[in-house]
Symmetry: C2
Subunit: 427 residues, 2 copies
């Protein structure tokens, strides 16, 4: 629901419509407003809005380990309402947002510059206009917080609550068509010197968020994006430009990108030192991990949905992998005793959400819905028990820890009860 809409409508009905619209309007808007009756300017929006009956919103994950004290609640991020999703595109207005303390910046694109320097022959400074003159690519890619679908990612017990929705369990992933310039092209122009093995990407936010990224990724498929789903990247996503590191942990996709330094070793920035070393079951930490494993989640029916009557339902969901494209998705309605191949909807893009669908006749009995994907590297999404086995621990470890890791890509079970309610079955 758009909280502004009712207010605006009321305002327009008061008769002061045109004067109200003219505040802050551009010259073009003014000329249109002067030429057409007020009512039609109201009805035919120059920038359209969704129906006020649509109540899908991003939700803040408030209880998270980053809050400094119980008296200081902080929104760690905003999750995408996957339970309402359709197709492969996430609307920009509902793209997940993570904030580690820094705020979206209100950047004037005319003043913004991207500096490329360090171990390069020709340091460069690029404006948005400069960037838009260069050869571009447009590619669908998901971006996913590597805490997504982990208990640590939502910072507490809600991940394993029976009432958790797909938004609660998996809402820190979103998929857009990003348009921008390959970083490899920029680095080629700058001339990377021998020994330049890492880059430091830094944002223009107040905290100067930075991340160390191996040069191999920078020269592979990373891009400096200025557009998202056909319009300029949104402020919360890094307007006017951001780094996109396809398939890698969200933290690498530096927003409000203003500096890339080529260096000869990773820098131990705040993220590398304080937040992202992951504590393994054996008590040791691992510093660097990047790629998101193959993952899938059924988005309908999913937690919080309610099946009204037995009968036909489509089961649909999303699958993605940091390793490449999705080759196969299997669905089980009997807790893994039997599996059937779901249909994949075109386009199936590399390192992008892929929509899957499969028909299902619900007989009114209890059912346990699972999905399991396989990527084009042949890597299969594991069960939670399989993940635990690999790690030399048991499933309780994942339930109770605030662990954040991109390796936790376990199968998500949704339980359908006889009354039609659908519940999170990780509990």
């Amino acid at each position: 629901m758009n909280p502004k809409k009712p207010g605006r409508r009321q305002f327009l009905k008061s008769g002061a419509a045109l004067a109200g619209l003219a505040v802050g309007a551009t010259a073009v808007e003014k000329s249109i407003a002067a030429d057409v009756p007020e009512q039609r300017v109201d009805v035919l929006h120059k920038v359209g809005e969704r129906s006020h009956f649509v109540d899908s919103i991003r939700r803040g994950s408030i209880n998270n380990p980053e809050r400094r004290s119980p008296d200081e609640p902080r929104v760690f991020g905003l999750t995408t309402p996957l339970q309402d999703s359709a197709g492969m595109v996430t609307p920009a207005s509902l793209h997940y947002v993570i904030s580690h303390g820094y705020e979206p910046r209100d950047i004037n694109p005319k003043e913004h510059r991207l500096l490329i320097h360090g171990m390069v022959d020709r340091p460069m400074t690029l404006s948005l206009e400069d960037l838009q003159r260069l050869p571009s690519v447009s590619r669908f890619h998901f971006i996913e917080c590597h805490g997504n679908s982990t208990a640590g990612g939502l910072g507490g017990s809600y991940r394993v609550s029976p009432d958790a929705t797909a938004q609660d369990t998996h809402g820190f992933t979103s998929c857009s068509q990003w348009t921008g310039v390959l970083l490899s092209l920029l680095l080629e122009q700058a001339g990377v010197q021998k020994g330049g093995t890492w880059i430091i990407a830094e944002g223009a936010d107040d905290y100067k968020h930075s991340k160390s990224i191996p040069i191999g990724k920078a020269l592979d498929d990373a891009l400096v994006a200025y557009a998202q789903n056909g319009e300029p990247v949104r402020p919360e996503q890094g307007y006017p430009m951001r780094l996109v590191t396809p398939g890698w942990q969200g933290i690498n996709n530096v927003k409000w990108l203003h500096r890339i330094e080529v260096v000869d070793e990773p820098y131990m920035g705040m993220m590398e030192v304080t937040r992202y070393p992951r504590l393994m079951p054996d008590g040791k930490s691992r510093w660097f991990e990047f790629e998101m494993g193959p993952k899938s989640v059924i988005t309908r029916p999913s937690g919080g949905h309610h099946l009204l009557t037995p009968g036909f339902y489509e089961i649909t969901g999303l699958a993605w992998s940091g390793g490449g494209s999705i080759r196969r998705v299997e669905v089980s309605t009997d807790n893994g005793r039997s599996w059937k191949d779901a249909q994949l909807q075109d386009p199936i893009a590399r390192k992008a959400h892929t929509r899957f669908t499969i028909p299902w006749n619900w007989n009114g009995e209890e059912a346990m819905l699972l999905s399991r994907c396989t990527d084009d590297q042949g890597v299969v999404q594991p069960s939670l028990a399989e993940v635990a086995k690999i790690w030399g621990t048991d499933v309780d470890f994942f339930r109770n820890s605030t662990l954040i890791t991109s390796d936790l890509n376990a199968i998500q079970p949704w339980k359908v009860n006889r009354d039609g309610s659908v519940k999170n079955a990780i509990y």
Copy 2:
């Protein structure tokens, strides 16, 4: 530019932020608002917005043949700002809108029903919930007004003005990923009777817009869409459901779809009788035409853009065809004396916008930029002279007439002047 943002910010700074936000907020929003500091609720939008530095807007085409008198200006429609586009997706907020007098309806989805009746064995009434239980498809398709890029489409001389932008010349086309149910599946459920050769699709708007469509198209790839780019179809696009007839004239993509009647002949509705018979050069009219021909337009640089300095530029644009997918786009910078193949960006979807790019070094001299596409049927986009020849007339006919036809898919020339200005060269 978002005219609302500055006002809202000011309001929040006044200290009454939380009270203001709570007006019209849902229970969920209220609970979040109560838990986090006011400032962060403002910063992290639950439904995000674009930067207020972005000034891309739909524009109304005011001077059109549908206005009843000069004293009664009417917005015929709103065009997509193609000159600012990127990739293949049109943001829902910028999707073009055509209104023949009917208004977007504020439909409560719980009350909306789709009736399928006429020459069928089992008439059906479907709610949105019913529809969402059925097998779905998600497909990228353009929708284009068949008056797009014609002088008649914008209703006057502006199509051929040197100052026309790509929005002015071609802005009545947009591309979305549509999710919905194939109409063939619904008709199969209903059981089309022998002799049922057409459908009448009708909307729930005040004017009950209806269109006669051959059963062949209905059973081919037409779909009843409830989602667009990952969210519910926007009100201006037919919320809660619309017909999508891939590749066919926009008029067939009936919005606010509430009735499909299977019949044995086309109905001579208002659109068939009064608006869409096209006047041919020989003075005769043709009643039915459906498929949009292959068309392309360079979106950057295009009319209204300004090249600051000689040197490297990317030329980029969109190509699409109602006949299938785009196989090839060629670009000329010397008014057609030589052509080079542009690169097509994945995904290349059937009956969808395809983004093309090609590098260009501008030497500072006058240049004439053209693009020409070929679809997978081998059909090549013609020049205006070629179109005129086929029609047995000359190019002045198209310049001066208010003709609306899906056959007018001629190559669009943009002239780059020595001062860097870019002008519409159809004049």
